[in-house]
C-alpha cells in the first residue's frame, strides 16, 4: 500500500513541475487559439499516471538537477534523511537511482513512521472523491429520468437551466425547455463539437487523475484550467466552420448565461465556464497561419517531449547479484579500484561530486566492499535477510535510496545453517594486527566488571539490527575512542556500540527503550570496534 502511495506522490511531484511549465507556456500562447493550450494538459495528465518516463537528455527535469554533493554518513534512524528518501524525484536530486522495492519500503517505513498513516489518509481522500462523483452522478441521472427525447441524442429536461452532456459511452445532450431558434442551433453545435472531439472522455480522465492526486493543489488548478481551455477550444472548433457566425454565437452564450444561476451542478455545462472569457475569446479568435502555426505546434510538441521524459532512469528493477562463498558479491572483489569495480559491475552507479567520483558502496555479504583510493565516507549499510523469500537485501544508507537484492539460491529455513553453509568453507584471513587493539567482545553481568573476550577476526557475529539480525565480520569492526565507557554503568540488557567511517560516530543503543544516543569521536587511522554486551540475568 505504501508503495502505491509513494508512487503516486512521486508522480504528483513530477506532474507539479509539468503543470507549472504548462502554466508558463499558456501565458506565452495567449494570443494563439486555445486548442494549443488545451493540448499541453495532455503532458500533465501523462505525468500524473505514468510511473516513469523514458530517459532523455532534453528532459524538463534536467533543469532541476543540482550537482550532487558527497553523501554524509547516515544511519537508518534519522528522520531527516527519511523524508528525502521517501520522496525520490525524477530529477534524481536525492539519489540517482531510486526505487521502491518492498524491502526498501519496509525500511523506509521503519524510519519514517507516518508513511503508513499518510498512505491511508490519501486512500481515504480518494474514496471520498470517488464517492462524491458517484453519488452526484447518480443523483443527476435520477433527476433526468423524465427527460424527453427530442431527437436522437438530444433530450429536453425540466429543472435544468443550462445545456450539458451526460452519459457513457455515448453522451446525450440535455437541453432545458424553452431553448429555441438560433440559441438552440448554437448550443447543439457546441455540444456536438464536444462529443466529436471526445471531450467528455478527457474530462473523465482529468477527474479520475484529480481523485488520485487530490492532495496536490496544482492538480486542482490544472483541472480547472483544463476545463476552461476545453470549453474555449470547443467554441473555436464550432466557429472554425462558421466564422461569420461569431456574434450570433456570442449572443447565444449571453442569453443562456442570463438564465443560468450562480451554481450549475452539471459536469459539462454550456454556461458554466466563465462567460466573459468565452465571449472575449470568441471575438478575439483567429486562426494561426503560416509560420506562427508551425511555431505553436513545434513549441507544444517540444514541451510535451520535455515533460514526458525523465532526467534519469527511475524504476530500476532490483539487481540480482549472487552471493559468493567467500563473502563477496557478484564480480566485486576486495581491494578493487573504482575503475575495476565499474568494469566489473556496470550496474553500480557512481556519483559525481566536487571531490571526484564517489562510488556508492555495495555491501556484499554484510561487509563492505572498499574502493581503494578514496577516504570514503562510508555510509552505514545493513542487510536484511527476509526469511520468507530467501532474499538478502543490501541497502546503502537509507534503504530507499538504493537497493540490490542478493539472492541466496534456495529457501532457507534456518538462517544460521544456510549462511554457514555458504560462508563456512572459506579461507581464513591473515591480518597484521600489530600495534592495534584487539577486538573485544564483552559479556557479563549487568554491572561491571565485564569480561572481555577477543573475537577471532574471521568469525561472523550477530549484530542485532532494528528489524533483523545481521552478520558482521570482526575485521570490519572499528575501534572507538573509548568514550563509551561511561555508558556501561547503566542497567541495560544490551549495549551495542559501533562506529562507522572515519569520523567515528558512536551510536549507543539501548535495546529495550530504544533510545539512541550518538557521540562523535575523532577517529583517525584504522579503528577497531568494540562490541559490548550485557547479558540479562
Amino acid at each position: 500500500m505504501e508503495r502505491i502511495f509513494l508512487c503516486v506522490l512521486r508522480m504528483s511531484l513530477a506532474a507539479g513541475v509539468v503543470i507549472l511549465g504548462v502554466l508558463f507556456l499558456r501565458l506565452m500562447l495567449r494570443p494563439a487559439p486555445k486548442k494549443y493550450s488545451y493540448f499541453l494538459w495532455v503532458a500533465a495528465a501523462y505525468r500524473l499516471c505514468a510511473p516513469a518516463g523514458l530517459v532523455a537528455p532534453f528532459s524538463l527535469f534536467r533543469l532541476l538537477r543540482r550537482p550532487v554533493t558527497a553523501v554524509a554518513v547516515r544511519a537508518p534512524f534519522e528522520l531527516r534523511s527519511g523524508l528525502e528518501a521517501v520522496i525520490p524525484d525524477p530529477a534524481g536530486v536525492a539519489h540517482p537511482a531510486a526505487q521502491t522495492t518492498r524491502a526498501a519500503v519496509t525500511a523506509a517505513a521503519a524510519s519514517f513512521p507516518w508513511l503508513r498513516l499518510l498512505a491511508w489518509v490519501w486512500l481515504a481522500g480518494v474514496a471520498v472523491m470517488a464517492l462524491y462523483s458517484l453519488l452526484s452522478g447518480l443523483l443527476l441521472r435520477r433527476n433526468l429520468r423524465t427527460a424527453i427525447r427530442q431527437e436522437e441524442g438530444v433530450w429536453r429536461a425540466s429543472g435544468i437551466s443550462a445545456p450539458f452532456l451526460l452519459g457513457f459511452p455515448r453522451p446525450r445532450i440535455y437541453l432545458p425547455w424553452g431553448l429555441e431558434g438560433a440559441d438552440l442551433e448554437n448550443v447543439l453545435a457546441h455540444e456536438r463539437a464536444h462529443i466529436r472531439r471526445g471531450d467528455p472522455w478527457w474530462r473523465f480522465l482529468g477527474w479520475t487523475l484529480l481523485c488520485l492526486h487530490w492532495f496536490n493543489p496544482l492538480c486542482w488548478l490544472a483541472y480547472f484550467l483544463m476545463g476552461r481551455d476545453m470549453e474555449l477550444s470547443c467554441d473555436e472548433a464550432v466557429l472554425a466552420h462558421w466564422e461569420e457566425k461569431r456574434e450570433d454565437y456570442a449572443r447565444s452564450l449571453l442569453h443562456i448565461a442570463a438564465r443560468v444561476g450562480p451554481h450549475s451542478p452539471a459536469p459539462l455545462a454550456f454556461g458554466e465556464i466563465g462567460v466573459k472569457q468565452r465571449v472575449a475569446n470568441i471575438m478575439r479568435w483567429r486562426r494561426l497561419r503560416g509560420w506562427t502555426r508551425v511555431l505553436a505546434v513545434v513549441l507544444c510538441g517540444l514541451f510535451f517531449l520535455a515533460a514526458a521524459t525523465d532526467a534519469q532512469a527511475l524504476a530500476l528493477p532490483p539487481r540480482t547479484l549472487t552471493l559468493n562463498a567467500d563473502g563477496t558479491v557478484g564480480a566485486l572483489r576486495w581491494g578493487m579500484t573504482v575503475e575495476e569495480a565499474r568494469a566489473a559491475c556496470p550496474e553500480l552507479t557512481f556519483v559525481e561530486s566536487d571531490g571526484g567520483v564517489r562510488p556508492w558502496a555495495v555491501y556484499a555479504s554484510l561487509s563492505e566492499v572498499r574502493f581503494q583510493g578514496y577516504p570514503a565516507e562510508v555510509t552505514f549499510c545493513f542487510m536484511q535477510y527476509e526469511v520468507d523469500e530467501g532474499i538478502y537485501s543490501a541497502s546503502e544508507g537509507l534503504p530507499l535510496l538504493f537497493s540490490y537484492e542478493i539472492v541466496i539460491p534456495g529457501y532457507a529455513q534456518d538462517l544460521t545453517e544456510k549462511l554457514e553453509a555458504i560462508l563456512g568453507p572459506r579461507e581464513t584471513h591473515q591480518r597484521d594486527l600489530s600495534g592495534q587493539q584487539p577486538v573485544t567482545y564483552v559479556e557479563g553481568a549487568p554491572r561491571p566488571p565485564y569480561e572481555e573476550r577477543v573475537l577471532p577476526e574471521e568469525e561472523w557475529y550477530w549484530h542485532s539490527g532494528e528489524s533483523a539480525a545481521d552478520l558482521v565480520r570482526a575485521e570490519d569492526l572499528r575501534r572507538t575512542v573509548p568514550a563509551w565507557r561511561g555508558m556501561t554503568d547503566r542497567e541495560l540488557l544490551e549495549v551495542w556500540c559501533y562506529t562507522y567511517g572515519w569520523d567515528a560516530r558512536i551510536r549507543l543503543r539501548h535495546s529495550w527503550d530504544g533510545v539512541d544516543t550518538a557521540f562523535v569521536a575523532a577517529g583517525e587511522g584504522y579503528a577497531y570496534q568494540r562490541l559490548l554486551t550485557e547479558k540479562a540475568e
Binding site: R145, T146, A147, I148, R149, W155, R156, S158, G159
Partner: protein, 120 residues
C-alpha cells in the same frame, strides 16, 4: 380544484394519457418509449406521481386521467397570465398579437367568447 403546477415532462406525459385514455399500462409504456424515450420504470413512477397529485389513476393496469385537458390548460394559462401580465388578460392579448392585426374569424370568435363570459 386545487392548482397543480406541472412541469413540462408531467404535462407531456399527461397529454399522452389524454390522447390515448383509457390505456392499458403496457400499451402506455410502449407509447412513452416511442414518443418520449422513457423506460418502463420511469413510466410507472410517473403514473404513481400523477396519481398522488390526483391527476391520473391506474386501476387494474388501466390508466386514465382524472382531470380534463381543458382544466389544466385553463390553470396553466391563468397562472401564466398572472405571473407575466399581473393577471391582465388584455395585456396578454396585446402582447400576443404584438402589433399584428387579428383576422375576421378571430375577431368573431373573440366577440362570441366575450358575450358568453359576460352572461356568467
Amino acid at each position: 380544484m386545487a392548482y397543480h403546477r406541472l412541469c413540462e415532462s408531467d404535462y407531456r406525459f399527461l397529454s399522452l394519457i389524454w390522447d390515448h385514455e383509457p390505456v392499458n399500462s403496457t400499451e402506455l409504456v410502449r407509447i412513452c418509449a416511442s414518443e418520449l424515450g422513457w423506460k418502463k420504470s420511469t413510466v410507472y413512477t410517473m403514473v404513481k406521481k400523477l396519481s398522488e397529485k390526483g391527476l391520473a389513476v391506474s386501476e387494474d393496469a388501466v390508466v386514465r386521467s382524472l382531470v380534463p385537458r381543458e382544466e389544466i390548460q385553463r390553470q396553466e394559462s391563468r397562472s401564466f397570465v398572472d405571473q407575466t401580465f399581473s393577471g391582465s388578460l388584455p395585456g396578454f392579448l396585446v402582447s400576443f398579437y404584438g402589433g399584428k392585426g387579428i383576422s375576421e374569424e378571430e375577431a368573431a370568435e373573440l366577440e362570441k367568447l366575450i358575450r358568453e363570459m359576460k352572461r356568467e
